[in-house]
Subunit: 238 residues, 2 copies
């Protein structure tokens, strides 16, 4: 989206004067933060050599090392500084926690409850970020299974933010290509189905699933090779 960053020029002397005399410090300070619900698909090494590695959908959480909510888990996030757009703050936060740039992100919702932070009035613009976890270098953060993360009482209103984020990707998975932002470049249909099932929270029938995603993927002609199980076709996103 196009963002307005060009400087405004006053149209008259009176207006310039008005602006020169405008004192932002007169208003009660409000701070703005950006918080990210980072989803990633993690490969679990299979304990059965006959099976393909299974995968699980995880959320990135950080243990706070300062007040308030010291030692509580929280979403990665940070204060928007005066010279940063919301997207800049998001990028800075995500890069420092995952080592990744150009992460697929979309705005989720802006949370403006009055007492959501005990330090001061803080309004948080929350994002959903989807990463190919295989490429991330996690730094000061930990991956949690979604179901596990939902059970932890997080700092601030972050449980609510996660709840909304899960609703959002669940609602979008079938009519967008959002899921491919979490997949490695090459994948099998059953790996893709596994991710859909985790997000939707239900088992899908393989034939119906194949029809749903047929238009979104391309067969590479390659096959997986693993002594233990039957080879599977490898696909990429169309």
């Amino acid at each position: 989206m196009n963002i307005t960053n060009k400087k405004y020029e006053a149209r008259s002397k009176e207006e310039q004067q008005f602006l020169d005399n405008y004192n932002p410090g007169e208003y009660a300070p409000i701070a703005v933060t950006v918080d990210a619900v980072v989803f990633g698909v993690i490969k679990n090494a299979s304990d059965n050599y006959r099976k393909l590695d299974s995968q699980s959908l995880k959320i990135l959480l950080i243990k706070r090392d300062e007040y308030p909510y010291k030692n509580w888990y929280t979403l990665p996030g940070g204060f928007v500084s005066p010279e940063e757009t919301l997207e800049d703050t998001l990028e800075r936060t995500l890069e420092s926690k995952t080592g990744l740039k150009e992460i697929y992100s979309e705005q989720l919702y802006t949370f403006g409850g009055i007492n959501r932070d005990p330090r001061m009035r803080i309004i948080s613009c929350a994002y959903i970020s989807l990463i190919d976890a295989g490429k991330a270098r996690i730094n000061g953060a930990e991956w949690f299974d979604i179901e596990e993360a939902k059970k932890i009482t997080l700092a601030f209103d972050h449980n609510l933010i996660i709840e909304e984020a899960i609703k959002r990707i669940r609602g979008k998975i079938n009519y967008t290509d959002i899921v491919f932002n979490m997949m490695p470049t090459e994948f099998t249909i059953s790996q893709l189905q596994e991710v859909y099932e985790i997000i939707l929270g239900e088992k899908l029938l393989a034939p119906a699933f194949r029809r749903t995603i047929a238009d979104k993927i391309v067969d590479t002609g390659k096959m997986t090779s693993n002594a233990g199980h039957r080879p599977s076709r490898i696909f990429i996103r169309k």
Copy 2:
């Protein structure tokens, strides 16, 4: 959505001390505003007595009476004050401009460009609001046709906000009941079709349209009466 408004209690003396010493004034002030893209369907008195009144989809704009952008048109909006949630600010703004409470609204996007306002760093949380224009008492605002509003250069980044708002309702009209928030309680199918056509920016075929909305409406059994044209069935939202 559930919003956290309960006060935080410090878990230790050290934490209470930290909070007592926290000085929000040390940070560069950021202000937060709420801006609303208010859509309404307005009946145009027909100049042909044989035709039903036609309708058009309009947006509510306000002429600014102070700097910056004095005398420019702008979206209705206001500053979020410390004791208000985003939704409180929205409700206050909309009530003062339309006389209506409990307006259907949803968050659109939060705009955080650095120079979007010349007074100070102002981040705006934009909402879409849909009203039954027949019930509104417009106060200090004017209705503009969508196409007309798009041609006016508005204050701040409000052209961009309107553009995003139109994309959003256009994207949602077919898979949600969003449109009924703009309709009067009773309507004919052709009146409803007219609103769909304005939002989508294209003519629809009547039989296909009837199939699309069949599940969403109920026949009241009543008919319109107007000496000039054939009576039409009157429907309500299911």
